[in-house]
Symmetry: C2
């Protein structure tokens, strides 16, 4: 019988508790909460040591969120000889290498399937294919909030601000939506995925990232006229010069699988040398889908699965100069660079010749200073 | 070091050999072939006993195809204490229960991930979700040949016969295409999937099945006018009356994920109580994708994975009377039954009110006697 200590008892933690309480191969021993939350369950404690020193607890489930003190708490749990399962993408993106090393050192297991793709079994399948294959690329719609916003704008011809407000009312978007709409959330999941796919330790902050804050209904109308659909995509690719990783809005022809990923769903894919392209679709967030993956990780530990997704993550400089494609660009201040790559002009927007991801992102960041509303999207 | 005995050395077997030869955790010991094939490799043998009595061989990979003598050969291997990995869907659909029981009895492992979905990690993920969740339904595009035919007809407005010929030239369709276009191949994969999803031992032959032999470019044009796309789908569903399982052409609105599954790709999905809908997309056949899943099964055995997908498969009567939906029906002989359920009439076709799967399939089988070209498709 696996005995769990939960760090946190919010949306996901409560879901894990509900599933675990219905099983006979695991039970929740203690739940670490803040002082004002002690009444939610008779098993709550407010001092982490009550879990760390409880020898009957073999596995900690960290679902408190945030980087600090989650990192210190998880580190203490690993040092106390407890397996750790987490759904915390911020923590994993920032400290994957350190946590894996600490788990190894203490002869325990660290798993984080729910940290990327919520309920989608993405990391376990990526890890599975890596045993046999070399991964060429990974890509995906990994953020449900932005997919909900873009899908709604595509279906209903509504403004970004109105859709964002509705997403906030539905609980799909946070009160401060920055992490989602500016791409920081999806960038974290990309950093973790690239680490597992390519043994690459990529600094989140170095990944060129452009979000959807500036997309307008006029942009969406232009895409519709082209027979295309816009999605926020994360890409990772092994190039002869190293790993390229970037996040950008992308316009797909309507017959592409990605174009049909609606509402707040996610779809994540890899291409590998033998298996080819394989895609995984499902709920990228939500109480029970995420809790499902957390409990599955616990069952993998019970089953003796002690592999780490990768323990070879090497610090990697990004090679985003090696990947080029055409872009849709809309700005009200055209400059020499944009003129030099323009192939086609529309009403207020241009289509460029293939240009490197590095150059386009660098240009757009600078362009924001003179045109705060600039928007671009890669063309696939 | 795992030592393999291969039964068969054709397309998939050769792929397994190529991948295994490049690894340092497994090696191919002996390869069972027919007498005229002995020159293809120095490791070939023509007598199965050379593999069964070779104590250094711990695992047999069966990729010879067909039911007999594959069943007898695999049974002998299990009785000789060897693990068995197979990609043979005909064998697994016919003898799953017997083979699982034999493996248990002899304390060895039987795995067959590649038998459904070729390179797609479908059965392993279905098995993974079942540890936590109750499956409500499974469905999918599980046959690449028919998907290639339907995709081509949708994209290019060409006749069934012409596309079939091209598919045969490309090697996507067999010289005798019956198993694919009449739905026998996909029905096998459904029988296996339903077994794993619901602990149900379903007789292949009892599954109501209607193929795409009769689809015309006029049908496809009618679907296009409705904003829909036709795919051959397999369905399994747990109903209050038991398991419903059936195979039928289905028309999806163009914004559905299934509508965008092109060429010879497959996509298979389940819906479960916690994880929700999850879909798996990839190559459903082909040398290296299929060999990838075979080798992955071998690695799972090395990793100590000794679970069976299900060892509780109980004989199950089908409950296809419990599932109803609307249908598109085209026949040149309208009868009382069809008139009684018609809701809308087009040029030569009708749309019905919701009618049970059992009734529609039974009617169409009888209708073939008076209208050999009758065609129908479920509306999703």
């Amino acid at each position: 019988m696996m005995k769990l200590g939960l760090f946190g008892y919010g949306v996901v933690g409560g879901g894990v508790g509900r599933i675990a309480d219905g099983r006979d191969d695991m039970e929740v021993g203690r739940i670490l909460v803040l002082p004002h939350e002690v009444d939610v369950d008779p098993r709550t404690v407010t001092n982490i040591n009550d879990i760390l020193t409880d020898e009957s607890i073999d596995t900690v489930v960290e679902v408190m969120g945030g980087i600090h003190p989650a990192f210190e708490f998880v580190s203490s749990a690993l040092k106390a000889g407890k397996n750790v399962v987490t759904a915390n993408k911020a923590l994993v993106a920032a400290y994957y290498k350190e946590l894996i090393a600490l788990a190894k050192e203490n002869n325990v297991t660290f798993r984080c399937t729910a940290a990327v793709g919520g309920g989608i079994p993405w990391l376990v399948n990526l890890s599975r294919v890596r045993r046999v294959d070399t991964i060429e690329s990974v890509w995906g719609i990994m953020n449900g909030t932005t997919n909900y916003i873009l899908s709604s704008m595509t279906a209903q011809d509504v403004d970004f601000a109105d859709v964002l407000k509705k997403a906030q009312e539905l609980g799909y978007a946070e009160a401060d939506p920055t992490a989602d709409i500016d791409g920081h959330d999806i960038r974290r999941k990309l950093a973790i995925s690239v680490g597992v796919a390519f043994d690459a330790a990529v600094e989140e902050a170095n990944i060129p990232t452009f979000g959807i804050r500036n997309v307008t209904s006029a942009d969406i109308q232009a895409f519709r006229n082209m027979g295309r659909t816009c999605k926020l995509l994360a890409y990772g690719q092994m190039t002869p010069d190293g790993v390229a990783a970037y996040v950008e809005p992308t316009i797909f022809t309507n017959d592409r699988l990605e174009a049909s990923v609606g509402t707040n769903y996610n779809m994540i894919s890899y291409k590998s040398n033998n298996a080819g392209i394989q895609s995984f679709y499902g709920q990228g967030a939500g109480r029970f889908p995420t809790a499902y993956n957390v409990v599955s990780d616990c069952l993998d530990i019970i089953a003796g699965e002690d592999s780490f997704y990768t323990d070879k993550a090497e610090p990697t400089a990004l090679a985003c100069g090696s990947v080029s494609h055409a872009y849709y660009v809309r700005t009200n201040v055209c400059d020499e660079f944009l003129s030099s790559i323009t192939e086609e002009k529309g009403e207020g927007w241009v289509i460029t010749a293939p240009v490197s991801v590095e150059k386009m992102h660098a240009w757009a960041q600078k362009q924001k200073e003179i045109d705060a509303g600039v928007f671009f999207a890669g063309i696939q």
